[in-house]
């Protein structure tokens, strides 16, 4: 394992593989994570992309990638990855390509596909032990179509389809645990605002075989309603408040980065327009307490 490489921030790559000029929104937290991930994965990577914001990355004749990219329907990116992996394996077996020409097959989808429509195809792929990496950029809603709620939308967030005074009534699905329950090689959560933690986890995943699944929380300026300059600040707060636990599933165990001093959840909520109804015109003390209690309970269970 090659973990030594990523000891310090200055060990991170200083040149970037992902091309400029993409149509992603200014300040996109998903693109930030992807460009950091791509630098670690390297250019021998083939992306299999389900419908979502990042479908727009490769619009003919433009692509930010150095290699191939395949577009699939929203529910079937892991199935597409299976086909690509099989084809590469056949080429290897028939000695049509050399070992060093092999590619890492990487599924790239948003939360709409990962948490919802594509979950069944992912489950099947993990069952079959498919050798692939899955990257979910999770902006907690159907961002590309105007931020309707998805299975990843957090409780009380305002979305295009949850406009009432209490926001989204449901709760964010625990995809990490669902994925981990399949006992794949690796599951991890990351965020672009913590590039060193992200690079270490991607480096670790890269050294492994089998299904390796990554969820990157992706602060979304238009969808979460904040100024694009705050993408990294909000990402850091998601971690510091304990709302977005940085964790790994490896060898049957879940390991957390436990935040030393968790700051109040409302510090995170307050910076986002999608939660403004919790603060104005009247502070919704009950809801804020409930949300804090939920995060506290999570970390209490972790430290037991």
């Amino acid at each position: 394992m090659n973990e030594v490489v990523m000891q310090h921030m200055t060990d991170l790559p200083s040149t970037h593989l992902l091309g400029t000029g993409t149509p992603m929104c200014s300040g996109c937290g998903g693109l930030e994570a992807l460009h950091e991930i791509y630098d670690v994965l390297g250019k021998n990577t083939v992306f299999v992309n389900a419908a979502g914001c990042m479908t727009l990355l490769s619009v003919y004749p433009f692509t930010p990638f150095r290699g191939s990219w395949l577009y699939t329907a929203m529910a079937s990116a892991p199935a597409g990855a299976q086909g690509v992996r099989d084809a590469l394996d056949i080429l290897l077996e028939q000695k049509c390509i050399k070992k060093e020409e092999d590619l890492e097959v990487v599924v790239l989808t948003g939360d709409g596909s990962a948490y919802g429509m594509g979950l069944s195809a992912t489950s099947g792929a993990i069952e079959r032990g498919l050798d692939f990496i899955y990257i979910c950029y999770d902006n907690e809603g159907y961002g590309n179509t105007g931020q309707q709620f998805s299975a990843a939308t957090p409780h009380a967030a305002k979305t295009a389809t949850s406009r009432g005074s209490s926001g989204f009534a449901g709760y964010k699905k625990d995809l990490f645990s669902i994925w981990a329950a399949h006992k794949p090689s690796y599951v991890a959560t990351v965020i672009g605002s913590e590039p060193l933690d992200l690079a270490r986890k991607i480096e670790k995943a890269k050294q492994m075989k089998g299904p390796r699944l990554i969820i990157a929380l992706a602060p979304c300026p238009p969808g979460w309603d904040f100024n694009p300059r705050d993408t990294v600040d909000i990402g850091k707060l998601a971690v510091k408040t304990g709302v977005w636990p940085l964790k790994e599933y490896i060898d049957g165990k879940v390991i957390h980065n436990i935040p030393h001093h968790r700051v109040p959840v409302e510090d995170y909520l307050q910076k986002q327009g999608r939660f403004v109804h919790l603060f104005t015109p009247k502070r919704n003390e009950e809801m804020l307490n409930e949300m804090q209690a939920r995060v506290d309970a999570y970390w209490d269970a972790v430290s037991e």
Binding site: M9, H16, G27, G29, E32, G67, R163, R229
Partner: protein, 310 residues
């Protein structure tokens, strides 16, 4: 039929502007189409939306190429060819510009003979992507220029379209719309309806016959790496981050790593360099630079300075 095109930047409310104008027309018993251009609603990026209104059924579809009225919320877009502000402009078109320069300056600058009107800028902001209420002001002015929309229906249309924003914001938008409506009183009815086209008016494009090619050449396959660099997303920028190298600690990883667009690279001297052809102006680098070595300058100001020194 009236054909109106709104041009602005993502965040300036052009989509809502077209909806408000469409609703106002509808309240006047017109048949209406209003739509934003799909797929490019990115903050700061040039966008447009359009409205067709007619007393009889509308058979035209798609983007308006022969506008009777062009409304420009952000005058910095006019010289950008990719924004397509002047597309299809003729001597019969009316051009309404939200900006500082007077009408004659624009006529001279653009070498055009059509009617040009100025909607004076009411508020100065550093970040043009956040021009407040400019959409409503544009609608108010457009409604008066068209001359078939009453103030009551204009107000009702604003109410209808932004009802979810809360009483305060609704009131400010209505104030902006009605002030602009008043301001254009002496030009009421300046924009005239133009004739509807029929299928008989359709002109065949000049076809070019291309011989059948092998799929390896003719299929839409991209053979080069990172071709997206050909897309100049720097056009989206309303604020410009500028590195002060005296303060930069040459840490190189912070701004370069967290820039979502890979628009900051590091040179041999381990100094970060911003690629202004592609920087979208999100300002994450400004927010996160620990020694505060990156400054914010309004894009227009930065361009004017560049012109002076050039």
């Amino acid at each position: 039929m009236y054909r109106i095109r709104f041009h602005g930047r993502g965040g300036q409310g052009m989509k809502t502007a077209s909806r408000i104008l469409g609703t106002a027309f509808f309240l006047e018993c017109f048949e209406v189409q209003d739509a934003p251009r799909y797929g490019a609603e990115r903050r700061g990026a040039p966008i447009f939306s359009y409205v067709r209104a007619s007393r009889s059924p509308i058979n035209e579809r798609g983007v308006i190429t022969n506008p009777d009225l062009i409304v420009v919320a952000d005058d910095s877009l006019i010289p950008i060819p990719a924004a397509g502000v002047l597309q299809g402009i003729t001597d019969n078109t009316t051009l309404l510009i939200n900006g500082h320069d007077d009408a004659n300056t624009w006529k001279h600058r653009l070498n055009i003979n059509c009617k040009v009107l100025i909607l004076p800028v009411t508020e100065e902001v550093e970040d043009r992507a956040e021009l407040p209420f400019v959409g409503s002001a544009c609608v108010g002015a457009a409604a008066r220029l068209i001359g078939v929309i009453t103030e009551e229906n204009l107000v009702e249309a604003v109410n209808d379209e932004i009802s979810s924003l809360g009483a305060d914001l609704i009131k400010q938008n209505i104030d902006q719309a009605t002030q602009a409506f008043e301001l254009m009183a002496k030009h009421e009815g300046l924009v005239k309806e133009s004739t509807s086209k029929t299928p008989l008016d359709y002109e065949q494009p000049e076809w070019i016959n291309i011989p059948f090619e092998n799929a390896s050449i003719s299929a839409p396959t991209i053979h080069a790496a990172a071709t997206s660099v050909e897309v100049r997303t720097g056009l989206w920028r309303t604020l410009r981050p500028v590195i002060n190298y005296d303060r930069c600690k040459n840490c190189w990883w912070v701004c370069s790593t967290i820039c979502p667009d890979s628009a900051i690279s590091v040179n041999e001297k381990s100094e970060p360099v911003i690629d202004y052809d592609h920087c979208k102006g999100c300002m994450i680098c400004v927010a996160r630079c620990a020694p505060h070595a990156i400054e914010t300058i309004p894009e227009q100001l930065a361009q004017e300075k560049e012109k002076q020194t050039a």
